[in-house]
Each structure stands twice: as C-alpha cells, then as structure tokens.
Symmetry: C2
Subunit: 455 residues, 2 copies
C-alpha cells in the first residue's frame, strides 16, 4: 500500500514537471524500489523517469527492471549511455539481459563492451540453460596459496568494489581450487599469516553442468553466501551468490506449483502475461485431461443398464470421484514436495508405498464409517431417501475404501516413477492423478455394486 | 547417491570400531553433512557417533540435527557437555531448540546458560510465532555514529567471531538505528574516516511484529545478507540473516503447497511424520470435502428422473466435473501464487476477474469445439454410440463453456476474497474449488439439458 502512494507521489511530481524534487526523492530510494516505479510507468515516461536518476542509481536500478522496459530503455539509449550501463552491470546480470533481448539489441550490447568482457559473456552464454554455468558470475576474489593476509587485503581493496562478493574468497593453486577463506578469517588473522595456513581446504563446490536447482539447494543446505563453480579439472570458473540462489529457489517453487495445477510453467508475473499467452499455458493440459476423461465416460456407458436398474448409485459418483482425487492428490503432492526438498529419494519407493498403504487404510476406513452413518442416518432417516438401503450404503462405502487405497498408491508411486525415468515429478499431481483414479474407482464401484446388489 | 555411500562407509567403520579412521573422515566433513549422518543412525549410535566428533565440529553439527536426535543427545549429555554445546550455538538456534524440546530439557538448557544469555532467550521467546522477533538473533555488530573506521575494525576483531554476520554492520545513535555500513565500505575507506560519513542512512528495516514471510521477502527483494529488526522506537533489537530467510521461504512454500492439496500443514519431513500423524493431517479436509459433495449428490437425485430419460447424459458427468475442477484449479493456484509473490494485491481484484473472464471464454470455447467434434466424429461415427445426437453434444458442450467460465471466476475470486477477510488464500485451491464448481456445473448441465432436450 505504502509503495503505491509513493508511486502516485512520484508520478504526480513527474506530471507537474517538478524534476528537482523528483531527483531528491528518487535519489534516496533503493534500486529495487526505483525499478518497480519505472516498470509501472507508461510508455515514454519510462525513459524520462530513468534519465532523472543519478547515474549510479540508474545503473543499479537497471538490473532490477523487467526485460520489457529494459528493451524500451536500450532502444532509447545512445551508444554511450548503453556502454555506461553495461559496464556497471555484474556479468551475470548482463548475461540475463542478453538472453532476454532480441538479436539487434544483443548486437548493440556486445558492440559496446570491451573484448575481454565480451569473451566472458560468450563463455557464460554457452552453458546449458538451468545449469550452474548459466547463473554463475566470474566476478569473484581469489588468492594464491602463498599470499599473506596483508597482500590479500591489498587485493580486496583494489578489486573488491567490482566483485559480486568479497566476503567469501577462494584460494587457488595453478587455477585449481584448493581452499576457501572468509573475510572474517582474514580479519582475525595477523598481517603476516600466509593464507594457505588459515584457509579451509574442504571447499563445497559444484560443476558447471550441475542443475541450478541443486546449486541453490546446496547453498541453502550449507548456509553459504556463495558457492564456487568448477570445471572438469577443478579449476574455479565462477561463483553463484546467495541472492541468485534465492531467485532460483523461488522460480523453481513457482514452476512446481504451476505444473502441479496442470499449467505449462511461465517465468512471467501474472499481469505481464497476456490473455492469449495465459490461455496457451492452460489449454494443453485441459484438453489432454478432457480427452482422457473419455475412458471414465466409456466405463459409465458400459454399465449404463446396471445404472438404470439402480439409479440411486449415480448420485454418489461425484462424491466417490472427488474423494479419490483428493486422497490421491494429497499423497502425490506430499511426495513431489518431499523429493524436491531432498527428503525423499528414488530408493525410498518401497518405504513410501508401505507408509501410504497404512495411511490409506486408516483414511479410507474413517471416511467409509462416517459416510455409512451419514447415508443411513441423514440421507435415509432424516431426508427420507428410501432408495438408500443398507446394501447400497455398503456398496458406496466399500468403494470408498478401495478408491482411497488405490488413489494413495497411485498418488505416491507415479511421481517417483516419473523421476526414475527422467520426467518432472511435479506433473504427476492432482489433476493427472484424479483422471486415473476416477476411472479405476468407477470400475471398482460398478463391480462391487454387481456383486452386492446383484444388478 | 554419493552421500549414501559415505554414510555406509562411516557406519561400517563404526561397526568395526575403527574410531581413529572415523574421526579423520568426519573431521573433514561439513557440519550439515555430519548432522545428516547422525540423524540416519539408529538409537544409541547417535550418541556414540556424536562423541567421536572434534569438539568444534560437534557443536556446529548440533545446530543442524533434527529435534528428535537433539533431544536424544541432550538426554545423554552431562551438564558440562550441554553447557559447551549451548554456549557455542547462535542465540536464534538456541531459541529454536528450546521451542522444540519438552519442559524438563528446557529447564536443563536454561540452567546451563549464563544469566545474560538466559535473559535474551526469554526475550526472544516472548515474540509471537511467525514474527520477525521470533526468528531474529541479537548477535549483530553495531557502531556508534562517531566511531572511526579504525575503531570499527577493532570492534569487529574483538567481537566478530561470536556474531552471526559481520559483513553488514549497523550504526546507532542512542540505540536508535541511523545507518548501515558494509564491511566492503569499511575496507575501502581510510582508517581515520568517521563511520557516520560513509554509512548509508537509508536503512531497510522491519518491525519485531512483522510477519516472518514478509521479512524473508524483503531480504530477497533487496538482495540483502541481513535485515535489521527494530522496536516501536526504531531501536535495533536484532537481525535476520539470509540463511534463515531462505528457510522461512522454503517452509512457507511447503506450507502453501500442502494447503493447496487440502493437507493440514506440518513442518516435519515426510519420514519424520508418523502414520497416525500423517492421517490426522489429511483426514480433516477429506471428511469436509466428502460431506460437501453431498450437495452434488442431492442435485443428481433431484434430477434422477430426467437422467433416467436420457441415460447418455450420465456418461459425461465425470468429464464435465473434472474439466471444471481443473480449469478452476488453474485459476486459483495462479492467483494464490501471484499473491504470495506480491505480484497480485487485493486492489487488483477487478483486473484479475476481467482477465480470467477473457481467458475462460477462449478456454471454454476451445474445449467445447474440440469436444463437439470428438463426440460426433469419434463417439458416434467411429464407436457407433448412436445415443449421442447433435442436441446431446450441444448440451454437453454448452455446459462445458458455462462450467469453465464459472470455474475460472470462482477460482480467481475466492483466494482474493479469503485474503480480504484475513484467511490464508492457499486453502482456496483445487480441492475446495472443485467441490463448488462440481455442484454449480451439474446444475447448469441439467438446466441446459431440460431446455434443449425437453426432458
């Protein structure tokens, strides 16, 4: 709410052309907030507002601005302005920018960077999407093993400002990563100490091809501020910092949640996604699941004459289907989340199934008992639906037990199976499970009904 | 996988009583990994393994161990051992520990801490659950405004090791927070500089009662390593560091995902939750949703004679219900996630509904057209189900449009409504939406059928 008011103040000042006041206010703001304001401005205001910013704040804010407005800004930049901004960006932010921009803009950006930076950018761009290499930055501080603490501080004072972090530094020997030393270690050591003597030789590092989600998980697990990325010969080529790891974790969470809800994932915020694009992200699964429901329809059609003989059974189809779907969804989502947090691994499959079997029996039993009571006491006695006899209630409640049992087993095993064959388990969530469970529990329903009611 | 092998090596060495080798191996491991190994050990092995660790590693690993094994360890500790561990823990970890332990252990822990620490612990325990106060630590570094950079470094060297971070330091004036200075700023300034001159006076801080999720979101948004927590008079009382913020974000994500899948949230990993406990987390929603499905059953019962007159209609009930549920689930989950990421706010409700209306019309239209073709070409012509006439297909496909439309509107507005009245929007996800959409779309189905088929 507060932010909105600030935005209105700024836009009002801007409309009244009170640029001096605007400069003062915006100069005191945080780059991320400035970026928010610029993103919310219309059309050419984006450029005018950006040009009002003090130079340093402008380049800092630029990294936070959404690609759409970044593109708009670059189109309006002179080559000199573009060079000023790109020079100040951290390399990983430049790479992110290049990945989002159309080819003509990419060419302009590369034209305005010095050859060394350009080489580094091209190297980073070559790493596969979603790999550690694609999110790392080469802007880290490293020391040779034989440097003294005094020499280390000299180096930090010289290069520190241009590095993404100086708080975790790396120790190398012939470019190979041999240790890590924190700035705190350096500060509490004497100036003459050799860094090789105070470094920690047990460095946690990741390979350039490691999945970025695993990199973020490692940072979170070991409470690190940065993690070094090494090539096949253990040479350090970059670092991933904790702020980027958080972004990766949040993006992956959003992606998992979208997949679980049968949506094709998108990395854009809700209001930045157009109606058509939203439609295209949602329709594939809706279509697929609609067509899959044909089997359920075929099962009902197959038992049509039985249903006609005992019409009361139809009324319980939705309840049985929903309960099965919910029970299966609970199991699948629990397992999917457990796998993505690293609590559950492929080898746990039998342990998982055994646990779900026991949970399913208690859940199914409880639901069946409650439902049996409800059908006979409320539906029959209180509401007077005399078609609900004890055998009918028995059919519904037995099916309930079977449906919950099957739902939990399918729900817990499909995500693990998906992971085993290399698919994303998140797809095996409620909507998908529901479709399968529907068909299976309907089949069970009619077979139990045939046996008990002799229809 | 690698970790499992290491675990097996360690357990084998342990069984063979090769303690010297064990000490060497474990001494080189990271505390988080040591904790994992100890958690996986059985019964009394937990204590024996822990006692093999070098003292410093032992206390570091202790903070990562799960509460269950922590309790086991404390029960086996002598008072001296307990004091050694607790003295080395960061205060926020001690508070976490106390919150998880039974009263007798809590008393032992408090008995073995010095009076000053005990006072700080009690203060932290008094903050409401889920507040910034409950996750902060008072172990931060602060400077008075008139201190020189040299004096700042002296202070860091003296107290730094016992603080949770020294990389972001705070500047106070009569205990009030007036600025923030990074260690990089201090390193690149001359020794005589007064810290008040190089500090950034625009500090982003949070109040002690701020929701911890909002605190974590602020850390992530502004790419901070720590955020200061202030009381009502802007006096700094603690900091929240980025590693704790990541844990908060991950826990909140898990909680949201569980709520979306109709599970009562738990903060324990899958295998640490017993069968009975898992059952108790899942059964409330299953029962509630099962009972709610009664309405759907009543609608079908109400139209029983119409259904008997046109039995073919029954076969399409599951498909209509599932598609409605999926379409509603997509909308609700998108909105819930958008709200939790801060992309969507309460005031956006009309914008959201207007967007979902347009998406719903295109989605519903597409599904209806595909389904119309499928029913007449495949079901009727190819499979020879002659009960499927053009009017029947028309009824099903019109209902599809209506169901998707209603599902998207309910799906997008219920989470916002929940938030407006102070409930957690995550509960308004697929299972809940499905139950409502089922009833509404069935009503629509029968009413459209009556109109078109004159049954």
């Amino acid at each position: 709410m507060e932010q909105t008011t600030l935005y209105e103040v700024i836009i009002n000042l801007f409309r009244q052309r009170k640029f001096a006041e605007l400069k003062t206010i915006m100069g005191q703001m945080n780059p991320a907030d400035v970026a928010n304001i610029i993103e919310s401005a219309d059309g050419r205001d984006v450029i005018a507002l950006f040009r009002l910013l003090p130079k340093e704040l402008a380049t800092e804010a630029f990294a936070y601005i959404a690609p759409e407005q970044q593109e708009q800004l670059i189109l309006a930049f002179t080559d000199r302005e573009l060079k000023e901004v790109v020079d100040e960006l951290f390399l990983d932010d430049t790479v992110d920018l290049i990945e989002e921009m159309p080819a003509t803009i990419v060419n302009r950006i590369l034209k305005n960077t010095d050859p060394k930076t350009r080489a580094q950018i091209n190297e980073l761009l070559a790493y596969p999407d979603d790999s550690a290499g694609s999110i790392m930055t080469p802007e880290y501080v490293y020391f040779r093993k034989d440097m003294t603490v005094e020499q280390c501080f000299q180096k930090i004072r010289q290069v520190g400002v241009a590095k993404e972090t100086i708080y975790t530094c790396y120790v190398t020997e012939e470019r190979k990563l041999v240790g890590v030393v924190s700035l705190l270690d350096l500060l509490t050591a004497s100036y003459e100490t050799v860094v090789g003597d105070i470094m920690d030789p047990n460095v946690i590092s990741v390979g350039t091809k490691e999945d970025k989600e695993a990199v973020a998980a490692a940072l979170a697990k070991y409470d690190l501020l940065a993690i070094p990325v090494v090539d096949g010969e253990n040479r350090i080529v970059g670092i991933v910092t904790v702020d980027d790891a958080i972004d990766v974790l949040q993006d992956e969470n959003t992606e998992d949640i979208e997949k679980m809800a049968a949506i094709v994932p998108t990395d854009k915020p809700y209001f930045k996604t157009g109606v058509l694009e939203t439609f295209l992200k949602r329709i594939p699964w809706l279509l697929l699941l609609m067509i899959s429901a044909t089997f359920t329809g075929m099962i009902i059609t197959g038992f049509e004459d039985k249903l006609a003989a005992s019409v009361v059974l139809t009324a319980f189809i939705p309840m049985l289907m929903d309960t099965g779907g919910n029970a299966g969804g609970q199991a699948s989502v629990t397992i999917i989340r457990g796998m993505s947090l690293g609590d559950i691994e492929l080898k746990d499959v039998l342990k998982v199934i055994w646990k779900e079997i026991r949970v399913a029996v208690i859940c199914g039993g409880t639901l069946a008992v409650v439902n049996f009571g409800k059908m006979l006491l409320i539906d029959r006695l209180l509401l007077g639906n005399l078609a609900i006899t004890v055998p009918v209630a028995l059919v519904v409640c037995l099916t309930m037990v079977v449906a919950v049992f099957i739902a939990k087993i399918i729900g817990c095993s499909l995500p693990i199976a998906a992971k085993a064959v290399g698919f994303d388990p998140a797809v095996m969530a409620s909507p998908f499970i529901t479709t399968i469970v529907d068909a299976v529990s309907l089949l069970a329903y009619f077979m139990i009904a045939q046996t008990i009611l002799h229809i």
